[in-house]
Amino acid sequence: MVNLTVDDKQIAVERDATIYDAAKAAGIRIPILCHDKKLHPFGGCRMCLVEVEQMKGRLIPACTTPVSEGMIVRTMTDEIIKARKLVLELLLLKHPLDCPVCDAAGDCDLQNLTYEYKVDANNFTDEKFHWEIDYDNPLIERDQNRCIHCGKCARICDEIVSYGAYSFVNRGIEAKIGTPFDGKLDCEYCGSCISVCPVGALIAKPFKFKARWWALNKVKSVCSYCGTGCQLTLGVKDDKVLTTIYDEDQGFHNGQLCGRGRFGYQFVNSDERLTTPLVRKNGTLQPVGWDEALELISTKLQEARKNDPSAVAALATPRLTNEELFLFRKLFKDVVGTDSIDHSAGYAHEALTAGLKESFGITASPSQIVDIQKSDLLLVIKTDAYETHPVIGFEINLGVKRKGVDLRIISDKTGKLAKLPKAVNYLHKPGCELLLVNALAKVIVDENLAAESAAAITGLDAYKGMLAGVDLNQVAAVTGVSLESIRELATAYAKAEKALILLPIGLGYPGHGKELAQALSNLALLAGKIGQEGSGLLVLGEKNNSQGAADLAIHPTAGGRDAAAIIDGCASGAVKILYIAGENPVVAYPDRAKVEKALDNAGFVVVLDLFLTDSAKRADVVLPVKSFAEKCGTFTSVGRHVQRIRKAIKAVGESRSDREVLADIIARLTGEGVAADSATLFKQIGCYSGVNYDALGDAGAIYPVNVSPKFVPVVGSVPATEEGKYALLTGSALYHCGTMSLSGVGPMLVCPEQYIELGRVDAGKLGVNDGDRLKVRSASGELSLAVKVGLRMPEGVVFSPYHFADASINSITSGKSVTWVSLSK
């Protein structure tokens, strides 16, 4: 620790702190424009100039000057005020001062400091800038005339996002923030640049002219897209969510958001929202009152409850709150008496609910998101971890670039993570993950690199016995990863003091199921990587509450039908009543034609959703439910993090929350009312008994788990290949999450339709370019898809995301990890 005095206050801070940090710790605010706590110090704006007794004669920038023992700092003298005023005058000299029409007004650091330092006149005059304003971009509007050259946008895009959309271009007075060749901005649209812009040079276009900053009500919540669980602040006015607001002190991610989190909020107040319950009468869905709809559902369920509970099945989206999932399970398991409940097509949660359940005795990951930056070596399965969970991707970027984390990727494509400094991408043939993971374990055993702790874990002998049968040469030949690479990776993983494995799961990744999770658990146990900080296994659940759905056991636990069997049951007539809370099986589950037929065949289908989805269109009753912004409750994100969401706006139309609907149905069935408030329900959830709801606050809480490890040998098999065809992989597009982002407006502006991505060589062979169309034919169907040519896909392998309802990829896939397709123009 270093002792120093700031404005007569004695303070001790860490050795690597700057004067700015020290002042902040002492509660003294030094004005800044170019500094951001998440970025490397820059020292460009000169607003933070202070006086240091030992460095008399000039003013010192607080944000770049490290503290030293005995330093005496003054942050506010006449000379400092004069210097800061001068800085502001010079900035205002070129600034257009169009504050009345600037969306940043009220939230503008330049405006606020100008006011604070009373800069009401300028000693200089000069011509203003006349840069052309970029209105073309659908999400980010760039007005270089307002720019004060703090460089934060370029720095955050480089340091955290690792995309590098901007840079300073030109020199001297001509300098500005520019894109390559001054072209159109074409980036990941995460909007991080907007969030850190201290003025209105970068603004969120969807929010332009929507509301003044000071008229917005700011409500803290949690993002409702992926499982990362980013905290966000909603900007609300007149019961409408108008924007998301950056708060650098929110969450482990310091307010960083991805594109869907920042720009995907518009589904909340979409005109497409359902507003009244609908009941099918004479073949069409017609608006009815709540009572009629609920009575109809209750009557049907009551009949089934008495006669044949097993004919009832229910699917819930892992986007519901924990409290809603609790009531969902209560209704169907306890009241109706069916075990046929599930979510995420059954396979997309298996890694947790079946895989880790057997390997660790828990349905959650033993590690947390914050372990990423604490690790020495990260083993990421698929570079898609960036696409499925972009903010976890930022954590990986930061870990690699700031903390020197050794990044290893086992992937079937060369994605963005592979471009990070010193990252090693082990590119393998599609569907070979399990083989590779077992091969790594075999090397660890063969070279005596196994941890001593492994000996005490049940099943080691059987596991070693299984590994003995692994032929490394064969694995190398089948996977396309050389024997040396396998050896090198296994050794690096085993020898790393702290090593963390990341496994993204989800509907787009049928191969990332129970077995892969177990193989990875075995590997981590063998190398002794479970149970210490910065080490272990992190399974990245796809949706905002995937972890909650696993915790609350929204899957069959007593021999009931899983999601696939429920769909089959509907088709065969065994399932007569299907209750679908928010899932969209028609678009998201494998084999669209089969799902459509099943829903048509089921006797009575209830769908609760925000929108009239392709699944809802086939229902007998459709109920409008509230979005995350209209209700209270908790979500559990990756790494067992329980966080609260808060009601920000009134219900849209007549919509009710799933919680209210479920409580109502339970009351109608049992004749007894149930408590329906979040606090009471949360306290009834057994697995969260260690979490105090009232103390959750803004930060949330991580519930503890006890790992009881076990080796569960899983044998990999050589994936089938088809000569002359392309391997089609499905997955997540960076801008989307599930099917909800389709209504999010923002994501659709930058990624509007189903596409097929292929490498340059294949594109050349097929004679296609970006934007052309290709016929994609599999055993089960054919689609015409837009072509996207990129560097990610290796030869013979193509990719398509699963989110889209039109030309949905599940019309040609059947739930295998690889679908073989032929491509033609």
Binding site: W131, A165, S167, P180, F181, P421
Partner: protein, 174 residues
């Protein structure tokens, strides 16, 4: 911002994509691939080969050196030594520094503009001439001063402009 060199300020959105042979650029990159801080020598090498830094070469450098295209563009526009457009066979530079200015440099510049049909930092369509106004060439005693490639022409007059252009029109392009 009228003083910005024309080649930086105009975005060529509608210009057809350049087609060039990247073999030479690949060779330059190969040469410096493992050198730390290799961006400058690579860009200089590419300019040496092509006479300017073509856009496809920038994309290639970005891909092979794993540097953002935006940062390369930033470097290229920062240093006056780099050119993003093809340059003429003969670079005409006229000093507009103080000494040359008072000796009538503006008239020399205007005469060149008129004769060549191009402005500052522009190149004739036949790629014979590129014209540049420069701040000082370090020979104020010879003001007003012009240079064509490495040849110096002191005490410039309007008549001399005609002579210079006439002479260089005769010179071979290779």
């Amino acid at each position: 911002m009228s003083n910005a060199p024309a080649e930086n300020a105009t975005a060529e959105e509608n210009a057809p994509e350049e087609v060039i042979d990247l073999a030479a650029a690949n060779q330059v990159i190969d040469q410096y691939l493992t050198l730390p801080g290799n961006l400058m020598p690579v860009l200089q090498g590419i300019q040496e080969e092509y006479g300017y830094v073509p856009k496809p070469a920038i994309n290639l450098v970005a891909e092979r050196l794993n540097v953002y295209p935006s940062q390369i563009y930033g470097v290229l526009t920062f240093y006056a030594q780099f050119h993003l457009k093809p340059r003429g066979r003969f670079i005409i530079r006229v000093c507009v520094g103080t000494a040359c200015h008072v000796q009538g440099a503006p008239r020399i510049v205007d005469t060149f503009f008129e004769k060549l049909g191009i402005g500052h930092a522009e190149t004739t369509p036949d790629l014979r001439y590129t014209f540049e106004k420069v701040a000082c060439l370090g020979a104020c005693g010879m003001a007003p001063l012009a240079m064509v490639n490495d040849d110096t022409f002191g005490k410039m007059t309007v008549q001399k402009v005609d002579e210079i252009v006439a002479e260089y029109n005769q010179r071979p392009m290779k």
